[in-house]
Symmetry: C2
Subunit: 342 residues, 2 copies
Amino acid sequence: MSTNRRFLLARRPAGIPVADDFVLSEEALPDLTDGQFLIRNRYASLDPAIRGWMDDAPSYMPPIPLGSPVRASTVGEVTASKSADFPVGTWVAGLNAIEEYSVGAAGGFTQAIDVSIVPSPTNFLSILGAVGMTAYFGYLRACEPKPGDTVLVTGAAGAVGSLVGQIAKLNGAARVIGIAGGPEKCARLIQRYGFDAAIDYRGKDVAALSAAIAAEAPNGVDVIFENVGGDVLDAGLNNLAMHARIGLCGLISEYNNPGEKTGARNVWQLIVKRATMRGLLVADYVPDFPTGITAMAGWLREGKLVFDEHVDQGIENALPAFLRLFSGTNDGKMILALGTEA
Amino acid sequence: MSTNRRFLLARRPAGIPVADDFVLSEEALPDLTDGQFLIRNRYASLDPAIRGWMDDAPSYMPPIPLGSPVRASTVGEVTASKSADFPVGTWVAGLNAIEEYSVGAAGGFTQAIDVSIVPSPTNFLSILGAVGMTAYFGYLRACEPKPGDTVLVTGAAGAVGSLVGQIAKLNGAARVIGIAGGPEKCARLIQRYGFDAAIDYRGKDVAALSAAIAAEAPNGVDVIFENVGGDVLDAGLNNLAMHARIGLCGLISEYNNPGEKTGARNVWQLIVKRATMRGLLVADYVPDFPTGITAMAGWLREGKLVFDEHVDQGIENALPAFLRLFSGTNDGKMILALGTEA
């Protein structure tokens, strides 16, 4: 293959992205300058945060420029190199884009990885990647967990949420409750991920969801790991234990809402319970990643962590694969396979 | 006087309290049992939190029972006693009610005070009372201030807010910005309380208020001491510096809103800036009050703190005096004088 297919952002989506927001271009392979190397991306990580980067709004990352490929973490192999540090054949992981080839440079964010320590290179986009590190540091640092805590995880069947529930149990939580959408996901929380209780948010308003949480946590929840926002967050806020801590990881219920934000209507409960809500972003913990990778790989080897990846095939399926994150039709961490041929 | 006039809660207010929500009763003085003492309340503290206690909603305090006097902090003199610890003539402060006489008991929340150390007994309801301790501990503990911080105080012309601004400057904040309603209050923030800048929220929507804050804090605010909520909080959230801390002291914009709460629509910004929002309540700091009282009294003696009290006269004016808190027609900490005759 001598061309590079790239999934470009053509215009900024209004709400849920649609096909006309993107263009699949076919371009010549880029030339390399000294110090650069060419990465044949094998897998791209599809994450809710990407939706935010498509907006022209200030955030923790600059917006994806129009006409540029959609930013994503990838793993791949070096297929051409003008860098002694990244010879041809090296496996690498980094923040690149949904495109068959990216250009890396020594000193950048791309790092060599040893794919032999895990069953699949995709694991570096999941349990040992940003998702796994978000769960590990987001829970252990931002939520300040204490032994015996009752922990509520929202978006619990998702990539981060399912790991947070398991880490909480491994770390000494007394009771871990997950909120997810639909009976299948709720069953999986308990049977596969070891949650103590699961609550289906579907068909429940804030009052009903609040009552369902109260039934599972009559003394309130000490920790909330929040991925969802909206009604789910409001119901959690109604069930705080004194001095509760809320790690705010994401608000996926709001990402496709172009109108007024819901936010946290019951923020008053923070005063009632003298609780703390802290925004968290995995980027803050990069210097500590080796600690997290060692710990997570250890639990993985000991069979103490299970994790699901949902791999869709082909760059031409980038949009429907991405939209699974918002329709909830993925069964695990969403990954897009970008082909195997060089 | 041998009767006790009491300001009773007759029904739960819907929104702004009205006259029919209350009854001014005249009752016989209560009999004392061993260990009890009778307090002739001289002054009652009128605080926004009282509005919350009028609702039948779970909070950090039980609701005021219907038919009971409206709960409030008071200072007064012991006029009859069956407690050796509280002889007749002792000045006391405690959480009692808007009534001419309350019954105290040794071992309860009522404490003897030395009114000679301050210009007026009312000071024990203001700068050395819950208001002053809320400002002192709420800022220094819940907001984790650092030298050089840019600090935003909302409700800055209020009792707590005006103290927070002064404490922030005394504690090493680089720049203290206050938000208040109207040009007079804004002028007072700068001229009387020493704020570096004042923003009038009136006539500004979230976008305009956000721009006004950005103009005064181009690098964002490191600390928000939040008393208001609603649009004001949303505008503050739009202007956070990285790792900002928000001390959530009150949400006065919501207390009379019986419908859906606004909360914090821009809570997403906590993630963008990895910021922390912490609910605070002065009750958590009671064991440390002696530290706070010593510090505040010291600053007061050194002429480093100014504080305004707005004293309205007479239990028959309890409702209009209380409503000043919501119309903003008070000039300082609202206190109701309950008469001087024994």
